[in-house]
């Protein structure tokens, strides 16, 4: 059998097939859906979710979870907007500080998880409340951003030819994807993440830097969330402490639909990209239809999620039998 794919790639392949099928169906049903513009749109519309999900992918691969991402997005967007508009910071300074804050916040949670052996679920749940609270502390209201740089960046698109262009937010998403893909596949840090998620005790005995890696993973997720918050300000031209509520749940869903095992150690960064595209396709299809309620996105994602969990379960138990 030449078509036989290694067990490892089954979830990724399944995700890919789902994406192709969904996109195919939508293209048949809705005129104009099968266009490059829609594909580009998928990247732009879901950039902030995608960037969070990339950070989340490494966290889940390491056997952990990060519930704080939505709140960090909310905090970052408010922080950036407030600093620019009320304290007259230059946006670049605001972004830099926001990225540092996000990273340090993630690293801090990582330290709690590693040094005090606390469950990631609880620590990051605490992080969720803390960051959301901080967002309100910075500013209670939504705040529009009006700055030359923002005006300039709105038209800073990368032309793709044929009248198409890639927006800044979409390019940032792609850049983060390339970065995360590189980390996951080509760096020691990334491979150690897989090892720790696969078997933490063994990883320690194999002489791998377990603590450093774990903390690094949460720091990276914090960095991604802060970046996603900045992307959100670029997308909406505003900052709102309410931004990104429950975004962490979408991010987790997208990662799992992308074929990453929630127990850690198994999965691919590329799967997450596909997961985001699936999510985006469903949303776009509903938008194209016009008659469908947008709550259908949630329903569809929920169903997909359950299907994928069952699929993974089947693969895992099949693997144990072989």
């Amino acid at each position: 059998m030449s078509l036989k794919i290694s067990r490892k790639y089954v979830p990724l392949t399944a995700t890919f097939v789902v994406f192709v099928v969904l996109f195919g169906i939508a293209s048949l049903r809705y005129e104009g859906f099968a266009s490059a513009a829609v594909v580009v749109e998928l990247f732009s519309e879901n950039a902030f979710l995608g960037i969070c999900a990339l950070g989340m992918t490494l966290v889940i691969l390491s056997g952990g979870i990060d519930l704080s991402v939505g709140s960090v997005v909310g905090f970052t967007s408010t922080f950036v907007a407030t600093m620019i508009m009320e304290y007259a910071w230059h946006p670049i300074n605001a972004w830099a500080v926001a990225l540092v804050l996000g990273t340090v916040f993630g690293a801090g949670m990582g330290c709690l998880i590693h040094f005090y052996k606390l469950p990631a679920f609880l620590v990051t749940l605490g992080g969720l409340f803390f960051a959301r609270g901080m967002a309100y502390a910075v500013n209670r209201e939504s705040l529009g951003i009006n700055h030359d740089l923002y005006n300039g960046l709105a038209s800073a698109n990368i032309p793709l030819g044929g009248g198409l262009s890639l927006s800044l937010t979409a390019s940032l998403f792609i850049a983060f994807f390339v970065l995360t893909f590189y980390i996951g596949r080509y760096t020691k840090f990334g491979r150690n993440v897989y090892a720790i998620g696969g078997d933490e005790d063994s990883a320690l005995l194999m002489g791998l830097p377990v603590g450093r890696t774990k903390i690094g993973v949460y720091a990276f997720s914090g960095f991604c969330s802060a970046a996603a918050g900045i992307v959100m300000t670029l997308y909406t031209w505003s900052g709102n402490p309410l931004n990104g509520v429950a975004l962490e749940l979408d991010a987790i869903a997208v990662v799992v639909v992308g074929g990453t095992l929630l127990t850690g150690g198994v999965g691919f960064v590329a799967g997450t990209l596909l997961g985001v595209l699936i999510y985006g396709t469903i949303q776009q299809a509903i938008y194209f239809d016009g008659n469908l309620s947008s709550s259908l996105t949630s329903v569809a994602i929920g169903v997909l999620l359950l299907i994928f969990i069952l699929l993974q379960k089947a693969i895992v138990s099949k693997g144990e039998e072989a």
Binding site: G207, P209, E321
Partner: protein, 514 residues
Amino acid sequence: MPDPLLSMRGISKAFPGVQALSEANLTLYRGEVHALMGENGAGKSTLIKTLTGVHQRDAGEVLFEGKPIKPAAPLEAEGLGISTVFQEVNLIPHLSVAENISLGRQRSRFGFMQWKEIRERAERALKRFDVEIDVTQEVCSYSVAIQQMVAIARAVDIDAKLLVLDEPTSSLDENEVEELFAVMRKLCAQGMGIVFITHFLDQVYSITDRITVLRNGQSIGEYETAKLPRIELISHMLGKPVDQLADTGSDGLSRSEAASQGEAWLEAKDLSKEGVMSSFDFEIRKGEAAGLAGLLGSGRTETAKLLFGILKSDTGETSMAGNSVGNPKSPRQAIARKIGFCSEDRKREGIIPNLSVRENIVLALQARKGFINTISRQEQNRIADKFIKRLRIKTPSRETPIRTLSGGNQQKALLARWLATDPDLIILDEPTRGIDIGARDEIEELIRELQKEGMAVLLISSELEEIERLCERVWVLRDRQFVGELSDEEISEKAIMSLIAHSDEMEGSDEAES
């Protein structure tokens, strides 16, 4: 005497409820293989773990190359030049063999990890041990023995000054042990020092230069291997004078006399699974002890898994006491038929680490009774205590989490779990792996007793001696096929060996002729 490479002095380490080490010593010179011997739970692994930074010692000092060291983690120990293979195979199950060998030491070019180089390096590292496998496959798709070889290859793949091997040979067959010894000799010649822990006395006498004996966490003494008779070594380990040891060791006992009679209790015809096992017939009578012999990868464990329903047979049929019952579909069903299976992979298929010794022992019994029909606590205690005493499981109490027990004692508890179900047929896959000689006799004794009560035993063992001693019938496997059957008087190590080797010789002579 030159300066020692490693000198551990007065090492103490206590865990809740146990003094695992009290003032233990170990001295090792460059270029020697040093055996660390002792009963299960004597503190061997703990001594290694304090050396390599897994545990922190309570007292004592460690000099490595003359300098005091106190590594905080294995990572640090490795940096100092101490490479270790820990007792339980420690690899990442879902990563490839190649990656498992390289993890943490991969080289990058222009910031990119070189996957091709990682594969080649793994192939080279395994080649030293004559292991040729597809290194891109997940490590968990291979047998425990291959995993053990991979772990050893990983440890040897760096320039270490000290190599620590904690029972690396427990599931290797003779050829593989020889390969390992050849590599160890070469490393010693280059000036490396090796600490070698094993329960196989033959191996101790064939490879080590000196021996340190531990008992109850204390150093009993340091001896030159060539000058220490076996019986004295055993006496030091067990703490009994030589003249009380008449019965210990491999030859004190003989095959069960309780001859099995009557018709087959379990009969399987033409079982097979594509790509796993070729078709075979199997039968066993009440009270019979049968064995499966063969090299690693010959299909011994697979046969057991087919009989127990972990693997599902493509063909054939099974009958019990003459009635056709259909092939076993799941372990659950096999357990309901009163079959027990004590797996060789205790880490992944065996113990539940955080449950207590008692809970681990009564687990299979409880599973068979169903979860509504619970076993009273009193009864559980009685069963647990019985086996703890009978198998000499060394544990502070029956409520201790099993993960804190020494490797050999976990193995005993696992065996107790299946014996406690009072099965009609028990399949034992390498049951005495990692168990000390004293306890080994105890286990064999217990098996014989249960046999007399009508239990059938299917023994899988790499130690032909053990098969010869216990079994009335032996099937020999090669290349996932049954190639021969021996019974009663025909069973001897030699006869088994020649059956295992048979076809190779034929092929060899064919080639020679042509």
